[in-house]
Symmetry: C2
Subunit: 338 residues, 2 copies
């Protein structure tokens, strides 16, 4: 396999000229550049990664630590992993995958050995040991998700409060005066990430700000529970006319089935918005308005922030990505008199 000396020899220049020509870090004469390009092509030369890593200041590799916990929804998880890898490539970075059982040891290993330039931390829980490790390692890192203690960390996440606010606004603007939030099972609020709480709080706060009634219920995943919970919610007086669902895909479907089973139609009898789904709600029956959690958004920003840290100019921060509303026709004005 050809190395930089081969290219230099064939092109009749020095290796430093070859290096500069390839990196573009200094201007190269027209003819020289052409001869080098030709030699590179002729020899099918590609710079050796190890040589580059050792001489340069960058490895051009990020570690990605992505635990797969039992409560992880695999399709979303996969989407985040791919979004990070895709974003990294835009900056000429590769992604080294660290698994759950290697979480802390692996981070230690790849950063101490300088295998990676930085770390992207996925699926951050409230008390995540990886957050503490990243802090103590002092290595460039970006977390996707917000831990309890964000001191000294760079975090990126969807603005779940604003997302909930957006849902409330949409419903209130359409004329609804009584809203309900169907949330995850209690277990989800007790441990794990904090975004379900942030969504709930954003919902209740915005409803209060707008002066409308709002209820919040936690719903177990199985269809019978969903039916019962929905019945309880809709039998309230005054009955909510706008419902926001923040739960997993199955619960969304079960909610829609339960609504249909009650003889109600969306959006004529009831307006429904999907909270922050990681799945597509436009194919549901009926299609559901949504404020989706878009992996590419947070992941791209996280990678960007990691890259910027290498140039040494990023203050610790929590950056919240603005939510976007996707209209699929599941919100309408409430029935007159309801």
């Amino acid at each position: 396999m050809a190395n930089i000396h081969d290219v230099a020899r064939v092109a009749g220049v020095s290796i430093s000229t070859v290096s500069y020509a390839l990196s573009g870090k200094r201007p190269i004469g027209e003819k020289t550049r052409r001869r080098i390009d030709e030699a590179v092509r002729e020899l099918d030369y590609m710079p050796n990664a190890a040589g580059r890593m050792l001489a340069g200041t960058r490895t051009r590799i990020f570690a990605l630590t992505a635990p797969l916990r039992s409560d992880t929804y695999a399709p979303a998880h996969m989407a985040f992993v791919l979004a990070v890898a895709t974003a990294a490539r835009k900056y000429d970075y590769d992604v080294l995958l660290l698994t759950e059982d290697e979480a802390t040891d692996g981070l230690h290993r790849v950063s101490s050995s300088r295998l990676v330039d930085g770390i992207i931390v996925l699926d951050v829980s409230l008390h995540d040991e990886r957050a503490d490790l990243v802090r103590s390692l002092g290595v460039p890192a970006a977390l996707i998700g917000v831990p309890a203690d964000t001191e000294g960390l760079v975090c990126v996440d969807l603005d779940f409060e604003a997302a909930a606010g957006l849902a409330v606004d949409r419903l209130v603007d359409a004329g609804h005066r009584s809203l309900a939030l169907l949330g995850h099972p209690p277990m989800v609020y007790e441990r794990g990430s904090n975004f379900p709480m942030r969504f709930r709080d954003g919902f209740l706060r915005r409803a209060a700000d707008r002066g409308v009634r709002a209820s919040f219920s936690m719903v177990e995943k199985d269809a019978p529970h969903v039916r019962t919970a929905l019945a309880g919610v809709l039998d309230a007086d005054p009955a909510p006319t706008g419902v926001v669902v923040h739960a997993d895909e199955g619960v969304h479907k079960a909610v829609l089935e339960a609504i249909a089973a009650r003889g109600l139609s969306v959006p004529d009898d009831l307006s429904v918005i999907a909270g922050v789904p990681t799945f597509d709600t436009s194919g549901f029956t009926p299609p559901l308005d949504a404020i989706p959690l878009i992996p590419a958004d947070s992941c791209t920003r996280a990678v960007e922030l990691a890259v910027q840290q290498l140039d040494g100019t990023v203050e610790p921060r929590v950056e919240l990505v603005a939510p976007k509303y996707r209209d699929h026709g599941s919100v309408a004005a409430p029935r007159p008199g309801s």
Copy 2:
């Protein structure tokens, strides 16, 4: 950050002695070793990855190319990715993740730049350009899945024919004389991987060998189709008393529901086996016998074969992993007289 010279100085030895002490590639005197260990601990020394890669013959990184196609079942995909990463760590290897859009370019890049020692190819389709690329690159590689042309390649996969044979044997041994296979939708057999065909062929061949009747139907994913397809299959004369399902999770559940809806009970009226599920069938109602596709099995073997290629001793081959039967009580003798 400390380097090998620091360790050598603190320990009062040469850097080569430090290197050998850490690699264990030559015997080191008792006291010397202790002094080195102490220096390493004191300085929190960890060898620099780039230095190691450049001087040594290994990068200790494998590339993992894992496309996420539209017909990919994310949980299974994720499980394979994690199984590769976990297996790699056992050999002190890290895994670099290559995404779909980088499939061939990425493979070219990481192997030409010698960033990786080898490649693990996941989710191999019948005519997979990555297979051709791996062949032409001549880089150590192990494919998980079997492409149409395996010339010069090292492939690992579950023995789907044997898996189907196992299912047939189990049913025939229990006394069944008429079997049915409910397979994937036609689209799956037309393109993509070849394992559905291998399972189907294994099923039909073993049934013929054992001298029992066997039918094969392709089933669309939606519940109504599943009901119709099941009805068609069970109304045959003589009606099958043993059914093997090779489809995705939703279809399995729909099949069980359709069976229950017909007033039939498993295994008393009908014996049912899940083909090669990537999901857990022991929590189904009723729990289903299965011959599962176990990611760790093929992935561990693939990593092993990739590692062995670095020592230069692996002939091209297709290695099929033996299937295992998991009994959950969904197979019984057919009703007398049926």
